[in-house]
Symmetry: C2
């Protein structure tokens, strides 16, 4: 039964119109497994190692991803996996799980409950399922193709924001931009009502729930943004790269999420060099 | 009994060596009352008004402070109160309660569980009791003169950080500094290992619990920092203004908290203009 369903989708050239329940349920169980690991380590003493790019990593990141991969190996052995900590397995598969066990490891290691576990499923390079899970607060967003995004089981919707001047913008840190990208971010931020910092994936969840209007970031990897796209889109929002193109494998890591198309257009123009 | 205890402290020229239980318990009940209000409004639709300084305020801020003031009026009628939303009552009293019902209103209105209720008690201008309460996550720090700071009932302690180069620094937002103060902040931040943004009072709680080494901010009001001082000091940390002087009524709003005296000294030197 499971393999028939898999085969059916593997033969389709287009992503599924409505993602089947069993895949949504599996994604939720993957987030459950990661959360169990993470809650065990949160605010306990553990070693923090520096990765080659000097970003921090902990045993909680590694074990949480391993817990997810163990479930996938058992239930979806033909699918591919891209994980932040344990690399790529079967990366050319049509169905590709993209995992960031702890997005916002800097928040995790400083005891701040605004990191998240990200689980995405891509079909031929396009994100069709995303989970943002905050295991300490207990906030979970699930977005999937053809479905309304849910926050803790209730429908999540972006809010209207017809003009940039009324917008709340969020970015994790000004230090995460290169100089040119930071100048572009500033051209947008100078025109908004309120600028918020911090939050990593959590900020995109807040946008999908109607509390934030724009998130603009750069330098993101596939595992940082893949899960966010279905969450934002399923809540009625728009998420693209800085040229307005859809996000997928091969995007350049510059992302913008907006709750309102008017805000998105105005911000894109400013990112491209016009100050409005 | 209650009035005898009050009279006893009102005659002392010096702050109490060990703050009595009944005042600590009362502060906790004040935070409970505010939390009940705040949880009712969190992530619900409510109007956001702009104050004269264009900072946001909501019905939750106003009702949470009113709930605290109602308890104080009943139980401590002779004490003074300074509140962010409802002003000053009997401001010359020896015992002065200083209340910020929602520190981090910008986080509150964007649905982010990193704001906090701040309750402080000053004796002749010096903070002797402080509560930082995060009513969504359920994190509560209590610091008081002569007592070990508690986080959720367990002892909280700062961590060692003998050199600035190993420090994690936190500030709520680069946009909250004037240009000169921002330059001073940058002189410190350039020398640390990790810079984190966001968090308001929550960052000081994380410092008191050993997850953050430095917090440097400017433009704070008495109600923003009064509660933080006993929490940080009771956890073994240091909290002063940028000249190293103790904080109290009349401080200029530039504050630095450090877990380790060596870090504090190094940061103070950089704030004063030396880049190390």
């Amino acid at each position: 039964m499971k393999s028939r369903a898999t085969a059916q989708f593997r033969t389709a050239a287009e992503p599924p119109v409505v993602l089947p329940d069993n895949l949504v349920d599996l994604a939720a169980r993957l987030a459950d497994a990661a959360g169990s690991v993470i809650r065990r380590y949160y605010r306990t003493p553990f070693a923090v190692d520096d990765k080659p790019d000097s970003s921090p990593v902990t045993i909680a990141d590694r074990e949480a991803e391993a817990a997810i991969r163990a479930i996938l190996a058992n239930e979806r052995p033909a699918d591919g996996i891209v994980g932040e900590e344990h690399g790529t397995t079967n990366g050319d598969a049509d169905w590709l799980w993209v995992i960031d066990p702890i997005d916002g490891t800097k928040s995790f290691i400083t005891g701040r409950p605004t990191f998240g576990t990200l689980v995405a499923l891509l079909y031929r390079g396009r994100p069709v399922l995303g989970v943002i899970d905050q295991p300490i607060v207990g906030d979970r967003w699930i977005g999937a193709a053809g479905r309304q995004t849910l926050l803790n089981g209730r429908p999540a919707r972006v809010r209207a924001c017809p003009a940039l001047g009324r917008a709340t913008i969020n970015t994790t840190s000004p230090d995460l931009f290169g100089p040119d990208d930071y100048a572009a971010f500033r051209r947008v931020a100078i025109g908004v009502k309120l600028t918020m910092y911090g939050g990593d994936c959590y900020a995109y969840g807040l946008l999908a729930a109607g509390f934030v209007d724009l998130v603009v970031e750069a330098g993101l990897k596939l595992y940082d943004y893949a899960a966010l796209v279905p969450v934002v889109e399923g809540a009625g929002g728009i998420m693209t790269d800085w040229s307005g193109a859809p996000l997928g494998r091969g995007s350049d890591g510059r992302v913008i999420a907006a709750g309102d198309a008017a805000c998105h257009a105005e911000a894109l123009a400013r990112l491209a060099g016009s100050s409005g």
